[in-house]
């Protein structure tokens, strides 16, 4: 188990370091998020007061669409020089590849959120008055569930030549519960604070989803890694 985490962290570190060198994925995700925010400003009148109602949805639309850009890259980049085969022949558990990739994708998405969400609030003149810690918890749990299934299905779809098209199609239906839960709990925190007692059932749904799918993806991953 310790070896598993060690090699997973080595993979995470390698991915993040390569990303730090190039900043390719990160900058693409940021620019894409910016463009989505601009498009939202055309779609919903930013001076209108009702804009508050769509902010929770925006947060998750940005996270998920930007996230998919990164997920698509995370296993395609391993195909260059067949480096994924290098990971398979090395003495590590296949699940540690999953765990390592999950961590690096998750960290990148959290960084993107750290920039885009404040930006969204500023550009749409939204004043945050809910519980910030709970808000961060919701962001954390929601993104974790999304990336957990996303990393797994990215590895699956990387086997196809048209993986960029395949991934969104197979990913969205599976993550629909986490999207519902994440948007609902964000809405409760940002707008309908009076419904706060139902927030906890949403949070527990997210936590349950994260745990369940992490375990399943973790153990099923070796079937994806066969050549």
């Amino acid at each position: 188990m310790r070896d598993l985490i060690k090699s997973a962290l080595a993979i995470t570190w390698k991915d993040l370091y390569a990303e730090w060198r190039t900043k390719q994925v990160f900058s693409t995700m940021l620019i894409f998020s910016g463009l989505v925010i601009v498009t939202f400003s055309f779609a919903f009148d930013p001076t209108n007061n009702t804009i508050r109602a769509v902010i929770p949805g925006m947060i998750w639309v940005i996270t998920i669409f930007a996230g998919i850009l990164g997920l698509n890259r995370s296993f395609i980049s391993e195909q260059y020089n067949d480096s994924l085969h290098g990971l398979i022949v090395s003495p590590i558990d296949p699940s540690s590849i999953y765990f390592g990739k999950f961590l690096s994708n998750f960290i990148i998405v959290l960084f993107v959120q750290m920039i885009t969400i404040p930006l969204l609030f500023i550009l749409f003149d939204y004043k945050m008055n809910g519980n910030i810690l709970l808000f961060l918890l919701v962001l954390f749990l929601g993104s974790a569930g999304f990336i957990c299934v996303g990393t797994f299905l990215a590895a699956l779809s990387a086997n196809s030549r048209s993986s960029e098209m395949l991934l969104p199609i197979i990913l969205f239906p599976v993550i629909s519960p986490i999207v519902i839960a994440a948007v609902q709990s964000t809405r409760i925190l940002l707008i309908d604070v009076e419904e706060i007692e139902s927030l906890f059932s949403w949070i527990s749904l997210m936590a349950g989803y994260d745990l369940l799918f992490f375990v399943f993806c973790f153990f099923l991953f070796e079937f994806i890694m066969e050549v």
Partner: protein, 229 residues
């Protein structure tokens, strides 16, 4: 065996139609339209059943790696798409007449909607390029993941639904068996049985076709190799 099943199916299907249209009483509030519900519910049941079959045979495939398990899962998913499509079209028709709106984001309908996309995703994976072993393995993994997902989807949608829209229409007849009359129940159960039989017949047919296709392909490959020598 297959042939006799088809005949039994045809006879039972006519009986089912008789029960639905003539024998069973007309519902007082909704009238004739309520009769959609027999086949609607039957199709929904088979859709979920088909997905369950995909799940079971996906697990079996990953353990035993037999091609026939993969075939059964694939055909079952296809039939599942067919019956989810039936649920998704008859649902709105009923909704239109009962609630005067084509679509409501009612939990069962929404779950079926997502189920439809899960099936489609599964079929997309099966249509990937590459050797069958790879496609079968990946599809099986997805079949397992998506089956676990369905109950969570249902739960999430029901919670979301009860928070967003308080139930305006009252319980629809398929949501609670409460006011159902004896004859209606008999008809419903009969229809469930007949549609399940229809599923089995379609599954047999599909598997038979896949098997012959495979056999023909093998023969063709052999002949090709012989001719090229």
């Amino acid at each position: 065996m297959h042939r006799s099943l088809i005949w039994i199916l045809i006879i039972l299907m006519s009986v089912a139609l008789y029960l639905v249209f003539i024998w069973s009483p007309i519902e007082k509030v909704m009238g004739n339209v309520q009769k959609i519900f027999y086949f609607h519910v039957g199709s929904a049941w088979v859709a979920f059943l088909a997905f369950g079959v995909v799940f079971v045979y996906s697990i079996l495939f990953l353990m035993k790696r037999k091609r026939s398990y993969d075939m059964i899962a694939g055909i079952s998913a296809e039939i599942g798409v067919l019956f989810t499509a039936i649920v998704l079209t008859t649902g709105p028709i009923w909704g239109r007449s009962a609630w005067n709106t084509w679509w409501t984001w009612e939990p069962r309908l929404t779950t079926t909607f997502i189920l439809f996309f899960l099936y489609l995703a599964y079929i997309f994976i099966r249509r990937m390029d590459g050797a069958w072993e790879k496609k079968a393995r990946l599809a099986a993994v997805f079949g397992i993941i998506s089956f676990i997902d369905v109950p969570i989807v249902f739960m999430a949608i029901r919670w979301w639904n009860s928070k967003l829209h308080p139930i305006v229409f009252g319980d629809a007849p398929n949501q609670s068996g409460g006011g159902i009359e004896g004859e209606m129940l008999v008809t419903l159960l009969f229809c469930l049985g007949v549609i399940t039989l229809l599923y089995i017949v379609l599954l047999q047919k599909g598997i038979y076709i896949e098997r012959t296709k495979l056999a023909v392909e093998n023969v063709k490959k052999n002949i090709q190799e012989k001719l090229m020598k």
